[in-house]
Symmetry: C2
Subunit: 339 residues, 2 copies
């Protein structure tokens, strides 16, 4: 730690500064073999079976936004962290930090959303905690959800990505940037009328019904904070392969693209809350895509790139005009309190 260093918004970006903070502080002090995996969920071996365990705190501002609210997001976010690890999400905890004066009616809407989302996902919220802080000591409410899922041994490689190899295809289940731009458009300071909806959704059924049958699933991750760009940069970090994204294959809704351009954001790094990035063997990628398209949350799925044997350790965008742009981890903070 440098003297007089303080926490900056970028430390919560999900990008490079978050990674540095984890490496220099959390991973250093908490060090143990499970934490060292540094994946979305910790894989626990209880002797009698493997579990995935994950935690996420949600501080999204505003708490209600087009397409969802903080409660909806808190359930989907943790369910997705388990599901992309190859686990079957089973149980969630819910910890609330509430600001004195928060309307009970709003809290009820949020809690109801959580219950509905949990029901849809087929999981149970089994334990909780409530803290209240004085007015002005937190902004409305924060929710932590931690989750437990059952992990079959055959899927244990998914979160590590250890089986990724050149030729593998990169698949995503639809457009990028929707969640982040929905939040931006909902913020009071932006009086914009574009109707952008968050893609916030639980992906566990899409994953279990359409994806897990594929024998060549090498890796999955949900592209949340830091966006698709950060996920692909993480996939290649320190690896002996490269990763190419074909810009012409990326789906970005017109209104999302417009707002990004207006505000100077790169959609590659804008948060999603219902998008899974999959690395799958080339032989099965076509069949996988077909199955995904039959699911409502996979209808717009497409192959957007591939793992290469050249450009080791580098992810890049092959632009529509034929150029190459390196995709690095997000540095600094693009959008605070996006989730």
């Amino acid at each position: 730690m440098k003297k007089n260093e303080t926490i900056l918004l970028g430390h919560g970006s999900g990008g490079k500064m978050t990674h540095d903070l984890i490496d220099q502080l959390f991973a250093r002090y908490f060090d143990n073999p499970i934490l060292r995996q540094q994946s979305d969920s910790a894989i626990l071996d209880l002797g009698t079976g493997k579990l995935a365990f994950t935690t996420d705190s949600f501080v999204v501002d505003p708490v209600f936004f087009p397409g969802g609210n903080i409660g909806h997001l808190a359930v989907a976010g943790t369910v997705n962290d388990l599901a992309v690890s190859g686990a079957v999400p089973l149980y969630l905890s819910a910890g609330f930090i509430l600001e004195e004066g928060f309307p009970m009616e709003s809290l009820e809407i949020i809690v109801r959303s959580m219950a509905e989302e949990a029901k849809k996902a087929g999981i149970s919220i089994v334990t909780g905690d409530t803290k209240v802080v004085n007015r002005g000591q937190c902004d409305k409410l924060f929710i932590n959800t931690s989750g437990i899922g059952r992990l079959e041994p055959e899927y244990e490689h998914i979160s590590s990505g250890i089986n990724i190899r050149p030729g593998d295809k990169i698949i995503i289940n639809g457009s990028i940037g929707d969640h982040g731009m929905a939040i931006m458009s909902a913020r009071n300071e932006l009086k914009i009328t574009t109707k952008i909806e968050s893609d916030c959704a639980c992906l566990n059924h899409l994953i279990s019904e359409s994806i897990m049958g594929c024998r060549q699933i090498r890796f999955m991750r949900d592209a949340t904070r830091g966006g698709l760009g950060t996920v692909v940069a993480e996939i290649v970090k320190g690896k002996s392969f490269g990763l190419k994204i074909d810009e012409s294959k990326l789906q970005i809704r017109e209104n999302v693209r417009g707002l990004c351009e207006m505000l100077g954001f790169d959609p590659l790094y804008v948060a999603n809350e219902g998008k899974v990035v999959i690395v799958a063997g080339a032989d099965e990628a076509g069949g996988l895509l077909k199955r995904m398209k039959q699911h409502p949350l996979g209808a717009e799925a497409s192959i957007i790139g591939e793992i290469t044997s050249d450009h080791q350790g580098i992810a890049w965008l092959e632009t529509v005009i034929g150029g190459k742009r390196i995709i690095d981890m997000l540095s600094g903070n693009q959008l605070p309190r996006i989730c």
Copy 2:
């Protein structure tokens, strides 16, 4: 919900208002058989073995206090919730919500405390999350810890208290009110020189080494928010037995008693962070006490009361002058942000 009702500080007290909020909102919407147990940890049956699962968010103010800090507390609090359920704590998650501008040096001290406490308790912090909010949108930092423990089927009755019966003894491992009064004395607004230290400690070794051998452990709970008073009120709620606490047996340190009197607090309802309340069969209570006294965290253990067949559903204090005082759940909020 009443119209225009808002969240009040009392909803986070751990007393009656917290219980009402849980019943009317969380339990109502999240309803499922596991949540209905309403104990410190949820008991999960994964087919291959039982697990205890618990969550707690920590918002203590100030973050550094005599005898500990928020990190120390966040590990001990969740370890204790698992241990009092009869489980062996194994894994913790750690979710940080940090205020922009929080000194990195302070964060490092807190993270180091968490690591030290985890090591002492023999558990691993295996997964985490970091969010940063703008300056003024949270007060310094909040930490959520969720935990998983292994529960042997023979101890499953402990968190429900289903085996409690008249004649059973009430044991606590030492003095009450230390944590709450340490926080009060540490708050800037109180310029008091009494040196009161929090009792913040992981109780899992005391419990596994000294308590779990006893075949007649009927119930355990850590007396945190709401204090000893709220725990005993919860034990008898809706039950066909009563509970008597002998005031003369309660240990309250001189400086704690003094500060309580000065500020108008009842030590019975002041938070502890290293105290376990045990209900044990009368035949084994003496032997249990002896074993507890051999452990540093049990050196001051004593029998403070018993379960009675009369006064069903009521907990009361037999005062030193021979009077009776009903011990109800804490109503309203005694001390905000105590944990």
